[in-house]
């Protein structure tokens, strides 16, 4: 097999596997935030702000995988 094909295979695997964890995490995070907003609608603003901070931090993990995939495809030739 062409050595570059391994890099492209690895990029696909990195993105796909790297999206699993953050996906589960974001699901739990947003689900819990909605649950607590439904319980206490009066603090919805605070919860939403903190939820966005959490989303930003969680999502970064998936984006590291994305950057690794980009490096594998375009830089590691």
């Amino acid at each position: 097999m062409n050595p570059h094909a391994y890099a492209e295979l690895g990029a696909g695997l990195a993105m796909g596997l790297g999206a699993i964890g953050p996906g589960i995490g974001l699901g739990i995070l947003i689900g819990k935030a909605l649950e607590s907003i439904a319980r206490q609608p009066e603090v919805a603003g605070d919860i939403r702000t903190n939820m966005f901070i959490g989303i930003g931090v969680t999502e970064a993990v998936a984006l590291y995988a994305f950057v690794v995939a980009l490096i594998l495809v375009f830089v590691a030739k």
């Binding site: 702000t49 966005f52 999502e59 984006l63 994305f66 950057v67």
Partner: protein, 284 residues
């Protein structure tokens, strides 16, 4: 009559779909999605030492965003009305989001000192992200192409470095170097553990810089790559049926990208506020 008309429409749509399916595709063109992010200099200028002064499309997008922000601020500030018009209401809404939603909601002290930076970075990232969704004739052969200055790691690292420097400046300015660096370690711990925690904290400070810049960069690159792939898929499949279907999908992706642009600006500004606020209240 009404019912008959419905049938006619259904037949017309079916014939159109079959026609689109049977029509031969357009001329073959190669598609290079990664080429959308290449930065070829538009105006070549000599470089001073290691600094290349050439003007490429990222620079032009940055200039446009800066001009939009400056002109918007001047126009709004020159004729402030007690009863805001549509334009003033929109800018006031964004301003109060930056002040009340971001700075005041996460910083315990120092809002008045640091809100100018938080607000400026919010508006800069927001306008840059939104202008990146407007195609400008800055491609290789001056064709319309999508690009955004924030899909460039150098731009986002510069913005993140501002936050990084201001965070530690705020902490050192308030507590002095000894006390600020001392606040990174728990006070009642044995010395070995103290040093260990100090190293962990220093590494995490550095990784904040990485995650802050890479988050914005990767989000913008991913969004523009997905848009480019959806636009390019019509060329890849060589079929008018798929092209017609993809137009609807790319409009939806485009709307989602507007949402992502606003959310990323919000997250960048709120994390800057969290870091600076954390340095200001770092005394245990």
């Amino acid at each position: 009559m009404k019912k008959g008309l419905k049938w006619v429409w259904l037949v017309v749509v079916l014939i159109a779909l079959v026609g689109l399916f049977l029509l031969p595709g357009g001329a073959k063109e190669t598609v290079n999605v990664a080429g959308e992010f290449d930065l070829t200099p538009i105006l070549k200028l000599p470089s001073i030492g290691p600094v290349d002064l050439s003007i490429n499309k990222a620079v032009i997008y940055l200039w446009i965003a800066t001009a939009v922000i400056v002109i918007m601020a001047i126009v709004i500030a020159r004729n402030l009305k007690p009863v805001p018009g549509r334009f003033q209401a929109a800018v006031e809404g964004l301003y109060s989001l930056a002040r009340d939603g971001i700075a005041r909601s996460v910083m315990k002290s120092g809002v008045d000192t640091w809100f100018p930076y938080i607000g400026a970075v919010f508006f800069f990232v927001l306008i840059n992200n939104l202008i990146g969704l407007i195609p400008l004739p800055l491609g290789e052969h001056h064709q319309l192409s999508f690009y955004t200055a924030t899909a460039n790691l150098y731009v986002t690292i510069t913005l993140a470095l501002f936050t990084f420097v201001f965070t530690h400046y705020a902490g050192i300015n308030k507590y002095g170097v000894r006390k600020y660096v001392g606040s990174w370690m728990p006070s009642g711990a044995p010395p070995v553990l103290k040093q260990f925690i100090f190293v962990i904290h220093a590494v995490s400070e550095f990784f904040r810089l990485v995650s802050l810049s890479v988050r914005l960069f990767a989000n913008m690159v991913a969004g523009h790559a997905i848009l480019a792939v959806f636009f390019a898929m019509a060329l890849i499949f060589q079929s008018y049926l798929i092209a017609a279907a993809l137009q609807g999908a790319s409009v939806l992706i485009y709307l989602f990208e507007i949402f992502v642009a606003v959310i990323q600006a919000f997250i960048f500004a709120i994390l800057s506020a969290v870091y600076i606020g954390g340095a200001l209240d770092s005394e245990h």
